[in-house]
Assembly symmetry: C2
Homo-oligomer: 393 residues x 2
């Protein structure tokens, strides 16, 4: 162990590595190349905005994991990851964004040196940070090894959160509560959207209850009016308008752990269809939450939610939730469990999700969503933000 400033104790990192090795063994993998920054952080503590260059954590069946990346980022690895410094290996800067050669050549050399160039190498084939060119370079350099797709292997180990992880998510939940409270407090017609987002960001980073705010894996999404018929638009400087809805899809974040929550704000008396959709979403959320308990499947929540929604005259053709926790851009989801028909993942105590029953109407959107924790007996909503369509005159 180094003297790095870690968010978890040694036992927790050991337990994570143990679970991951058991999963590797079950899949017939001798060494795992972890490119997902969230997985790298979860296994080692490594934290830095360096994922725009090729990097990885390499995990064999024994010994410490090895951090591999750009040499200048090795310094950050020594400051944030738990490994001894001879397990932090940097490559020369001339490999950075240079079409003449590929950094993966240096990873192949490292694997050979450490005796990891034989057997089955697991890679995260469908991760943002493991490009097609990276894979081709690595496979080309390691002709003696076999490769297996282990996309999601580490992500799935992250599903059940520890007490410490849950404590970080509770802090994040207080932060996102404060963000929504700030919106309700200060938003008014005529205000430039970016001026409102500036206050949302300020609240997010100041934090809540004395706990600091970290950056979110997705920036605030805050579309109004027709823009709110689409899910992933961000902001500009158009003024907020009377008679229009704006939804705010936000995350509070503490030490990379996210609590995600959306609310919708309407200026003036909402038209009937907004009130109807609010009512439908709230009722459907209630029946969905009733299914959120240990032993049930992820799809049970979606099926109950969708049945009630349809009964009330609305439809949603996309998933209504997904696993959340630790994350780096571009996605705050864990990319494992989805609340949708056919997802037979068993719910277990300690799992955390964004229950995300967004409805997009023909002239706007209604998002009233909850970060939730599966408990020993049922479910807990991590936030106390009032669950309703916010209306301001």
């Amino acid at each position: 162990m180094s003297s790095a400033n870690l968010n978890f104790n040694h036992e927790e990192y050991s337990a994570r590595i143990g679970k991951t090795r058991a999963a590797m063994q079950a899949r017939g993998v001798d060494v795992l190349i972890v490119s997902d920054p969230s997985n790298m952080h979860w296994l080692t503590g490594y934290d830095g905005w360096s994922f725009y260059v090729h990097q990885a954590v390499v995990l064999g069946m024994e010994g410490e994991p090895v951090w591999w990346g750009r040499a200048m980022d090795g310094l950050g690895a020594k400051l944030t990851a738990f490994m001894q410094h001879d397990n932090i290996v940097g490559y020369d800067d001339t490999y950075v964004q240079n079409p003449e050669k590929h950094p993966m050549e240096t990873l192949a050399a490292l694997l050979s040196e450490r005796g990891w160039a034989q057997g089955n190498i697991g890679v995260e084939l469908d991760n943002y940070y493991y490009s097609a060119a990276a894979h081709a370079s690595l496979v080309g350099a390691l002709s003696t090894a076999g490769f297996k797709d282990m996309t999601g292997l580490v992500n799935w180990q992250r599903g059940i959160k520890s007490e410490t992880e849950i404590s970080y998510m509770r802090r994040a939940a207080k932060i996102v509560e404060a963000m929504h409270a700030k919106i309700i407090e200060i938003a008014e017609p005529g205000m430039r959207k970016n001026d409102l987002v500036a206050e949302i960001y300020r609240t997010a980073v100041r934090g809540a209850d004395g706990h600091w705010g970290d950056y979110p894996a997705i920036v605030p999404m805050a579309p109004s009016g027709m823009d709110a018929t689409a899910p992933h638009l961000t902001w500009d400087d158009k003024p907020l308008k009377a008679g229009e809805s704006t939804f705010f899809e936000l995350a509070g974040v503490h030490r990379r752990y996210h609590a995600t929550q959306s609310r919708t704000l309407f200026f003036g008396a909402p038209p009937k269809k907004y009130l109807d959709s609010e009512k439908a979403v709230l009722e459907a959320v209630e029946v969905g939450l009733e299914q959120a308990k240990p032993g049930n499947f992820a799809e049970d929540i979606a099926n109950a939610f969708n049945a009630k929604l349809n009964q009330l005259g609305f439809e949603k053709d996309s998933r209504c939730g997904y696993a959340i926790g630790l994350s780096y851009p571009p996605d705050w989801g864990e990319r494992t469990v989805s609340f949708r028909r056919g997802d037979r993942t068993e719910l277990k105590p300690g799992m955390t999700f964004h229950f995300m029953p967004a409805l997009w109407l023909d002239d706007g959107g209604v998002e009233i969503t909850e970060p939730i924790l599966i408990t020993d007996t049922g479910v807990e909503c991590l936030c106390a933000t009032p669950r309703k369509l916010f209306v301001k005159d």
Copy 2:
């Protein structure tokens, strides 16, 4: 053309597409699959935080480009991209993060439908948003086509900025000036780092001179003391300390266009080595800037900078600059030109760079950097932020 709210006029998008097609023809490519969100935006105007799912712009040798992505994001494409709506094609939500099937199967079907499944298909093989699994899925589904690696093809077309692009970068430059001015104004020993970052964010998003601030492709990096020996750490809640340096590597952003600039703040009287390194960096920047003119090569700047730095007793073993402009996370660079030995890219009027002469010392870092524009006769620094080590008592 649709009624989308665009940042550039029709002629500018046409010119971009024309340049890209000429480059495709020169490389023997019949159709190009563009996965880089910055390239997607540059070619079509599409803007949304949806790059955490598979999506692309497909550009053939005639007709409009085609936006392809998750069905729910097609709505955002209709609102932000210039194409007619039959050239915006969405896939079913069940393809999202579902190991049973891959969204690329639907892209392959689209290519077949449009007559693009023959000939040579160009792909951005080393882009974050074109994973190894995506490539395998596409190649597997299109056995009649050839594939060519066109990583960077569109990026290289983006190097010389138009007048409108430069006007956006000038606005972004005013924003990053305001961010650094805010830091100098309010930072003091004892202040929690996150409270300072909260004000930096607020200033960034409020914007400057009446122009709104967009989100940066990299969050503020603001390490202090020993943490500042590493380049890419972000922030926490540790208080700022007397006798310590903090560097602030920031971007002002307007309509996705970045002006990146770093400054370093020292509380109290800086030790001699900080003053020496300040002097060395400033002198080396001056001789580097003298080489920043049309007709010279990118490496000329690096060679002049490094020679002066070495003469003054310092060394930097990483590149000292790179192309900037339009960007999405995780990188605000264009991933084309680097200021380093061997980069023989000819400098041309309208090119924009982050001249990034950061020095990392054994107990901290010194970053005093400039966003620059190559003019008809030389170079212009886009920001008026005083170029020095900031010292506060």
